[in-house]
């Protein structure tokens, strides 16, 4: 498709403002002003609307395609929460209003949403308190690492290391490093669990925290999790819970009960807020009692008269993680979702997510290698190693699926599984959809043996064929220029 800039026609107008109703003032001195107008296309409103509407049609999305992208929980995003977020009473409120003298009463509705969401998340995870400030999952990890640093500093100990397993998300070591820690990586044992002997070897009083995903990125719940937490606590280290996979645990286990001290959640995964093509997300962080005093300011508190207020008087707080109170518009949708599902709906979400993942696991395990063949939680991780011997790699399988109208699973992650295919169907997909997907996956396995080229030449039916990523990186073309 042409770029929006290539549709320019001099003289067209897409939007006009009311004519100025105030007397004209003297213009600013030239040295403060731009030399030339911003170089942009002139287009009609229809030009713009048609352009972006047609672009939207080039995407796969949850509303148009099955999207079993492991680790990202691409469940259905209920429509009613969109309508709630667009209510003027929420969307038009300036974030500084409650910070004005007497302004607290002007935003009681929004403050209540934040307060109640914190309470619900605390109960769901078994934590003492939450901050809604972090703006995405990785941002929550960074906030969590900063809370951990503040905790140890307060205890007078400067610890150097954060432990992560080799199956962790890339954001875990990156967040720890950016918060000022060195990263120690623990290998996964042949049973799919973190190697406890290696873990023990690396644990000492220089370890600030152990960052784990639970269930882990192989989709497996580690029954030794409490032991791992106890071992960390024995040397004074804290346990960090990466909440990417919380969907499997709703009502079944709570990070707080498992021994975790700091938890981040991804509202855009577990709590059904839209992924937005890669944001905005929301990554609230929950903590156990001993870390509450370090949470970012302002805290949202309920006064004795039932009204809500912002509290800045927390002298041990780490400070500001976000400019205000978090991605409010996203938090609101997650709050509405939780109220709608209620206790039974949340538990059912976990149960059916796990049912769907195990169904895929069992139906496909004859056809693809399953490195860790045991009951999985919300996702299952296959390997295309068998297919790769015939020249059909995970990436080829992904492209063939696209041709058939399916968004591919996550490929090549976790890094410890060769040719990984990580399938997370989520609870909102029907048996029929899974059956159709499974059928295509079996067809690919068969073609890999009989006629691999039919797979490796895919995709054939997409707006573009396979793209030259090497050229993109070697000769970066990152913006349009005439």
């Amino acid at each position: 498709m042409k770029l929006i800039f290539e549709k320019h026609k001099e003289g067209r107008v897409g939007f006009t403002y009311t004519k100025a109703d105030v007397p004209l003032a003297l213009p600013l001195e030239a040295k403060y002003c731009r030399k030339a107008d911003v170089h942009l296309a002139s287009l009609s409103e229809l030009d713009v609307v048609r352009h972006y509407t047609n672009l939207s049609r080039l995407n796969f999305s949850v509303d148009t395609n099955f999207y079993p992208l492991g680790s990202y929980t691409m469940k259905y995003n209920p429509k009613f929460t969109e309508r709630i977020a667009s209510l003027e009473g929420f969307s038009q409120v300036h974030p500084l209003l409650p910070q004005l003298l007497g302004g607290g009463m002007l935003a009681q509705g929004s403050l209540e949403v934040l307060f109640e969401t914190e309470r619900l998340l605390s109960e769901i995870t078994g934590m003492s308190a939450f901050t809604m400030q972090p703006l995405a999952g990785a941002h929550g990890e960074l906030a969590g690492a900063m809370l951990i640093a503040a905790y140890h500093k307060d205890k007078g100990s400067r610890r150097k290391y954060v432990i992560v397993p080799d199956s962790s998300h890339g954001t875990n070591p990156a967040s720890a490093a950016i918060a000022g820690y060195q990263v120690k990586v623990i290998p996964t044992g042949p049973d799919g669990y973190m190697d406890l002997v290696e873990y023990q070897k690396h644990l000492n009083n220089e370890v600030a925290a152990v960052m784990l995903t639970c269930p882990d990125t192989l989709g497996i719940f580690n029954p030794q999790i409490k032991k791992i937490a106890d071992m960390a606590h024995e040397v004074g280290a804290l346990m960090y819970y990466d909440g990417a996979n919380l969907n499997a645990m709703l009502g079944k286990a709570r990070p707080g009960d498992l021994g975790f001290d700091v938890v981040h959640l991804n509202l855009h995964k577990t709590f059904a807020t839209p992924h937005g093509g890669g944001g905005p997300g929301s990554g609230p962080v929950g903590v156990s009692e001993s870390l509450v005093e370090f949470l970012p300011i302002p805290r949202i508190v309920r006064r004795s008269d039932g009204t809500f207020a912002l509290d800045y008087h927390r002298h041990k707080s780490v400070g500001y993680i976000a400019p205000f109170y978090g991605n409010f518009g996203v938090i609101l949708k997650a709050y509405a979702y939780m109220l709608k599902l209620g206790k039974e709906g949340l538990i059912q979400a976990a149960e059916l997510a796990v049912l769907n993942a195990n169904y895929c696991r069992v139906k496909l395990r004859e056809h693809y290698d399953l490195p860790f063949d045991k009951i999985c939680m919300h996702e299952c991780v296959f390997s295309a190693s068998r297919q790769a011997k015939n020249g059909v790699h995970a990436i080829d399988i992904a492209k063939y699926l696209i041709d058939k109208g399916y968004h591919p699973p996550t490929v090549y992650f976790p890094l410890i599984v060769k040719e990984a295919l990580m399938i997370e169907p989520t609870e909102t997909e029907s048996k029929e959809t899974l059956d159709e997907f499974i059928e295509i996956m079996i067809e690919i396995a068969r073609l890999s043996k009989e006629n691999p080229i039919l797979v490796t030449q895919a995709p054939l039916h997409t707006p573009v064929k396979r793209l030259d990523e090497t050229k993109a990186a070697r000769e970066p073309n990152l913006r349009w220029q005439q």
Partner: protein
């Protein structure tokens, strides 16, 4: 039940296929001792009930006030076409475009977004967006530290205090030295600035217009920064760039900012849009996603995520940032907003904001006891000195139906009587006159 399609028959046939007798059996790896100690969540509600409940809460927020509060976050008009495009679920229910063949819509939209950010800022390259204006400054400071191998950051205190506080929070566990330069008569003090720029300096961070609304030409500051081998970082307000000198023209190496004013609702503080543009030699130090144009196997133009060896999913603890997702849907709003306005619309928008603020200055300066600060030119926000504590005036103006401004004493010592007033294109001549009359009455 909510949003799950399984019939009883589906469940029993699936369990049979799996070879277990119940759903509980699928959770047997979670030891009984680790099961939830409590799970006190209210029972399910209907869509109607939840909607009614939230409508009630929305009604508890004040939307009747005529808003003159800005302080970095502005009440601009959003054309309906922006909402219409951002409501396309082919956009909002997709994820990061890892698979380019089924994500060309998103990738092209982001490539177009990167282009408009480059055009607005006058710089070479842009990333696919960051969380907000504050995290964008933090990421820019970290880029400068990596690029120069130095660790001293000089910040003008005309940079939004919220962002300065964020930067301190983010670096509290790192070895970074900060110097803050005081603002004198609303402008950054060149004398103080030049005194502190040295061979240890990684970057100097300036904001334009600054927190007081003052417009400046920082070309001289940038020249001095470059003489010492440091980088110059600007935090800018994108709507002002329809009129003001873009950071690239002033020589800045990195421009960041809050993109909320480009078609994104105020929404009580988020989601917003951090943008970042830089000179091309800095591209490999940039954080976050970047989209590039390339060709497919038949030579046709297409778009991909590129330069990914900077990123956490490849480089893990050695990545340039831990950022994974950006604020794609907000970036989409921004590109649709700017595309609709075009060059004329953007200029017109900036003009309206400037003219209305000038008119407000004229009106307010006629009130006895009110002194409009005129030591520097301004864009759409300016500072006034009141004869009384600004908090108290703001409090009384709420009763008159106005959020009349932001009291500077909240962020700056000794400025208790100062009020920061923002006037966007949404404020009519009548609104401004009424503001002036009400203020006069409150002060009288």
């Amino acid at each position: 039940m909510s949003y799950v399609p399984h019939t009883k028959d589906d469940i029993s046939s699936m369990l049979k296929t799996i070879g277990v007798s119940s759903i509980d059996e699928l959770f047997k790896d979670i030891p009984q001792a680790l099961r939830p100690k409590s799970f006190n969540i209210p029972p399910a509600s209907s869509e109607f009930e939840v909607t009614q409940h939230l409508k009630k809460l929305a009604a508890k927020n004040a939307t009747h006030l005529i808003n003159f509060v800005g302080a970095g976050f502005y009440d601009h008009f959003i054309p309906a076409a922006v909402d219409a495009i951002a409501s396309r679920s082919e956009f909002y229910t997709a994820y990061t475009p890892y698979q380019p063949e089924c994500s060309q819509g998103w990738l092209q939209a982001i490539y177009e977004y990167q282009t408009i950010i480059c055009e607005l800022t006058g710089l070479d390259v842009s990333n696919a967006s960051l969380y907000d204006g504050g995290t964008a400054i933090y990421e820019a400071a970290m880029m400068a530290i990596r690029f120069t191998g130095r660790n001293k950051i000089i910040m003008d205190s005309g940079v939004n205090l919220i962002y300065r506080t964020m930067l301190y929070t983010y670096t509290s566990n790192l070895n970074v030295e900060f110097v803050e330069i005081p603002v004198v008569h609303g402008q950054s003090s060149r004398e103080e600035l030049f005194k502190h720029i040295d061979d240890k300096t990684a970057a100097v961070i300036m904001q334009n217009p600054n927190f007081f609304g003052a417009v400046d030409d920082h070309s001289d500051v940038v020249a001095e920064v470059h003489k010492r081998g440091a980088l110059a970082i600007a935090s800018v307000y994108p709507v002002s760039l329809g009129m003001l000198k873009p950071p690239g023209e002033a020589g800045f190496d990195i421009a960041t900012g809050e993109g909320q004013s480009l078609g994104i609702p105020l929404s009580f503080g988020g989601p917003y849009l951090g943008f970042m543009a830089a000179k091309k030699e800095l591209v490999r130090q940039m954080p976050g996603r970047i989209v590039g144009a390339t060709v497919d196997s038949e030579g046709k133009r297409g778009f991909v995520l590129t330069l990914q060896t900077r990123e956490q999913h490849i480089r893990r603890e050695k990545a340039t940032s831990n950022i994974c997702s950006n604020e794609a849907l907000c970036a989409l709003r921004a590109v649709v907003f700017v595309a609709l306005l075009g060059k004329e619309g953007l200029k017109e928008l900036a003009e309206h904001n400037f003219q209305k603020a000038e008119f407000a200055k004229d009106c307010l300066s006629r009130i006895s006891g009110v002194q409009v600060k005129r030591s520097s030119p301004t864009f759409n926000e300016f500072t006034v000195m009141l004869p009384r504590h600004a908090d108290e005036v703001v409090y009384r103006m709420i009763d008159k139906g106005f959020a009349c401004g932001f009291p500077l004493g909240r962020f700056y010592k000794g400025l208790d009587n100062y009020l920061l007033i923002a006037v966007t294109e949404k404020r009519t001549k009548e609104d401004i006159r009424r503001l002036s009359d009400s203020l006069e009455a409150v002060l009288g």
